[in-house]
């Protein structure tokens, strides 16, 4: 049930971001789909596979977003960022960044450092996820074109 609710709301949120970023009208639902798949991938891997490790889960989430976005972009012959931008947003570590800021204000620098490190790690793993997906997709399509 949690996954149904999360799937619905991540779909809704990413579609709305499609509107804010002015995606092409007929691609809005695709943006929502990419966002929902990415968020569910993140959530499922975090809770079921990785014991709540947000860093690795963010990697998998971003990887999923980028793979699906690439497939859509090949399919519809549209730039890939149209699909990936809205999908990445839910993975951004807003909560952890907020905790960092909050702890800095309360002068709990120890706790702030821990949160700041986590923000850094999560941002890094999102970047890695995007890059890995891109490289793998390129390798696959290159091979296919040669064959």
């Amino acid at each position: 049930m949690t996954y149904v609710i999360h799937g619905f709301f991540s779909f809704l949120a990413s579609t709305m971001f499609g509107i804010i970023f002015n995606s092409p009208r007929n691609r809005l639902l695709h943006c929502g789909f990419v966002g929902a798949v990415g968020w569910l991938g993140y959530l499922a891997s975090r809770d079921l596979l990785l014991d709540g490790d947000a860093v690795k889960a963010s990697f998998l989430g971003a990887f999923t977003v980028a793979v699906v976005a690439h497939l859509f972009s090949k399919w519809y012959r549209t730039p890939m960022i149209i699909f990936s931008v809205a999908g990445i947003i839910p993975l951004v570590p807003g909560g952890t960044a907020y905790n960092t800021m909050r702890n800095v204000m309360e002068k709990n620098y120890d706790a702030a450092t821990v949160h700041a490190m986590e923000v850094l790690m999560i941002s890094g793993s999102i970047a890695m996820g995007l890059v890995f997906a891109e490289v793998i997709i390129q390798l696959i399509f290159k091979k296919r074109n040669k064959a």
Partner: protein
């Protein structure tokens, strides 16, 4: 190719590049689009140098080098898709240069943005959705809806009137912080942290983050680092807006 036609070809390449850059495309895509268009117009040895503030395009041979500057940057994915489609049909020979140039001019003049009211509604719904995703209670969802929507309006309106991006994001997030704080302090709602985090999500620079990563990986270090810096400053502006409000109520709650 005669001179006038050549001039138009160069202008078309530059216009396509500028439109994409202004709409927030990745730098390497802009380069790629321009060189592809140039190749389809028989400009051998065409090359370009793209940064987030300007494009230098050299059509090769004896032809003149031209540059264009990029003064405004926004997120407009529709424009990127349209320019991309035009350059594709030009490369495949489906349209002539004159038609493509006319279409690009049309894209330049056109306004494809969703109506502002719809954008605000989208920001509000997105905030409410994120509130649920981040583990909020259903009864507080409405506060995130309003805080997110109002914060987005404030940020956009300030951006229109001041043209200073960081200031508008700072103000937007400060308003969000204030509204959330008032709601929680008066006892109407609870979960201050989650309301704030969900409501600032529409201000998050998603396009900049993705573009910075992709440009860095494509070897466009100048563009990648400048976009990364812009993303970082935006995040900092959002954070300090919230911090300002929270510091007034005596931290520690």
């Amino acid at each position: 190719m005669n001179d006038a036609r050549e001039e138009m070809g160069i202008d078309a390449c530059l216009l396509a590049g500028r439109l994409m850059m202004e709409a927030g495309a990745e730098t390497y895509r802009v380069d790629d689009t321009m060189t592809r268009m140039a190749a389809s117009l028989d400009m051998d040895g065409a090359d370009s140098f793209t940064t987030s503030t300007g494009i230098i395009f050299s059509p090769g041979g004896q032809r003149r080098v031209k540059l264009t500057s990029i003064r405004k940057r926004a997120t407009d994915l529709e424009k990127i898709a349209r320019v991309n489609a035009i350059s594709r049909s030009l490369s495949s020979g489906d349209v002539t240069l004159e038609e493509a140039y006319g279409e690009l001019k049309g894209v330049e003049r056109g306004n494809f943005m969703f109506p502002f009211g719809l954008q605000v509604l989208a920001a509000a719904i997105a905030s409410a959705s994120f509130f649920v995703l981040f583990g909020g209670d259903w009864k507080n969802m409405l506060f995130a809806f309003f805080a997110g929507g109002i914060g987005f309006v404030v940020s956009e309106k300030f951006h229109e009137s001041t043209r200073v991006k960081f200031f508008s994001e700072f103000t937007g997030s400060a308003v969000i912080g204030l509204l959330s704080l008032v709601v929680v302090q008066t006892g109407l709602g609870s979960q201050l942290d989650i309301i704030i985090i969900a409501s600032v999500m529409p201000l998050v620079p998603g396009l900049l983050i993705t573009n910075a990563i992709r440009d860095l990986m494509a070897g466009h270090f100048m563009a990648g680092i400048s976009k990364g810096a812009e993303a970082f400053l935006t995040a900092f502006a959002i954070g300090s807006g919230i911090a300002l409000i929270l510091s007034f109520q005596g931290v520690g709650m």
